[in-house]
Amino acid sequence: MPVFVKARRFLRNLFSSRRVELDLDQEVHAHLEMLTDENIRAGMPPEEAQRAARIELGGIEQVKEQVREERVGNWLHSVLSDYRYGLRQLRKNPGATAVMVFTLALAIGATTAIFSVVYGVLLRPLPYADANRIMAVFEVNSEGRWAHLADPNFDDFRDQNRSFQAIAKYNDYVVSVSGASQPTRTKVAHVSPDFLKVFGIPPILGRDFTASDAKKGAGPTALVSYGYWRQDLGSPRDLSQAHLKIDGAVYSVIGVLPAGFRFPADVDLWLPADLDGENRSRTSHNYNAAGRLRDGVTVEQANRDISAIARRIHDTSSEQGDYLLKDGIVVPLQDSITGKARSPLLVLLGAVGFLLLVACANVANLLLAQASVRARELAIRSALGAARGRLIRQFLTEAFLLSLVGGGLGIFGAFWGVA
């Protein structure tokens, strides 16, 4: 039962606040008059009776404020009125408000924009299953530089390693493609058959490459991206009639990859590498390589494994010279992609972080300057019965409004800037 009483009071306090206030006002005034009557009956002259009554009451506004503090749902009321006061205060000093909002918007916008980039490049994992198990493999040349892989070296890595459950080589080109709805310049990748197994991505339609697709002289086959399948091929469910002409050869489309898979970046067609046969040189660094670690194998173990194979090749190869690999290295694929951008991005992030701090300090200074002007207002408010907590909340509300507007504008700007 009391719960219903409380709920009813809450609604009454919220929606008929004018009547509730009027009621309170009359009650307090009636009390004052009764006190006065009492004093007059006790023999005081009327004026003194009224004065004594006022003293006993202790201030009409203060009593009313104390009652308000006790009401159900008072917090909602007082929060709303804090916002009203806050907005009024901010409108009263349009210049200062504009400067503060602009400062905050600029700093928050810059920080947000840079952080979005840092997040996208450094923090967000690659969108593949267990992406942290996907490694890039490089040769290391006699100067200690990392290099792409030569075909026979990749074959040795692939056949002799004990660390990867799948390893593939790939590179990409832009070529002219005809046979689809219209001829296009399209980015294609040449890949070895295990390429999709490295990323753990099966085709959503059709089939993956098999070893026989990559044999010398095999009929040319192609995997297409989801976007290419929809826009250039017209989304056929049956792929048997889908053929593409690239450099005079006709490729049968055998599979479609899921939307969002574009690796290497922006590739639309994946073709088997080396359909004309491999390049037998151990010093022609033609391919990137990526592999998925076996369960339980660490990056260090994979590194020792690959390094041992690489040194064996170095020691036994007939092609000695500066271009022959001296060692091999394994690093997480994401690090290999973002490696060079990492430090500058972090420096930039730190810089805008400090910019934000400076902006906050500036805004705090402006608010402080206003606060010293507002000492009078504070004195009046507390004389009218505002508790210390209410006054503090009032300032916090104003600061919150400022940051809300500044932050909103900043994020809007950042969104615009990043896009």
């Binding site: 009621d23 009390h31 009557d37 201030g59 009652v67």
Partner: protein, 110 residues
């Protein structure tokens, strides 16, 4: 109810108001004078404490209010006990009995 020393004081005021209203419906000043009378003048409840307490207790559903005419024909807001208020009075009385007994025991301990 909030913990700490204020909880005892606040509880005491509620108890005294409930007790005062057992005698019948009263306006704020009446309650104040009644408490003064039944405590032998020990407690003088100021309006600044009385009205917040009355409004809080009304919202708890322990007392209800209505407008009526005072003894000298002034409009005044009257309060009366509700059933929930009677129950609360019994509970508070028991609690107060326990507290005062315990304090007395503590003070007598040597």
């Amino acid at each position: 109810m909030k913990p700490g020393p204020t909880s005892l004081l606040q509880g005491t005021l509620d108890l005294l108001i409930l007790k005062a209203l057992v005698a019948g419906e009263m306006h704020g000043l009446g309650i104040s004078r009644r408490i003064q009378q039944i405590t032998g003048g020990t407690f003088v409840v100021k309006p600044g404490s009385l009205f917040p307490a009355l409004h809080r207790m009304e919202e708890e559903g322990w007392i209800s209010s209505f407008w009526g005419d005072s003894e000298n024909n002034r409009r005044a807001k009257y309060y009366r006990l509700t059933k929930a208020g009677m129950k609360q009075l019994e509970a508070e009385t028991k609690r107060w009995g326990r507290v005062s007994w315990a304090i007395a025991q503590a003070l007598e301990a040597s």
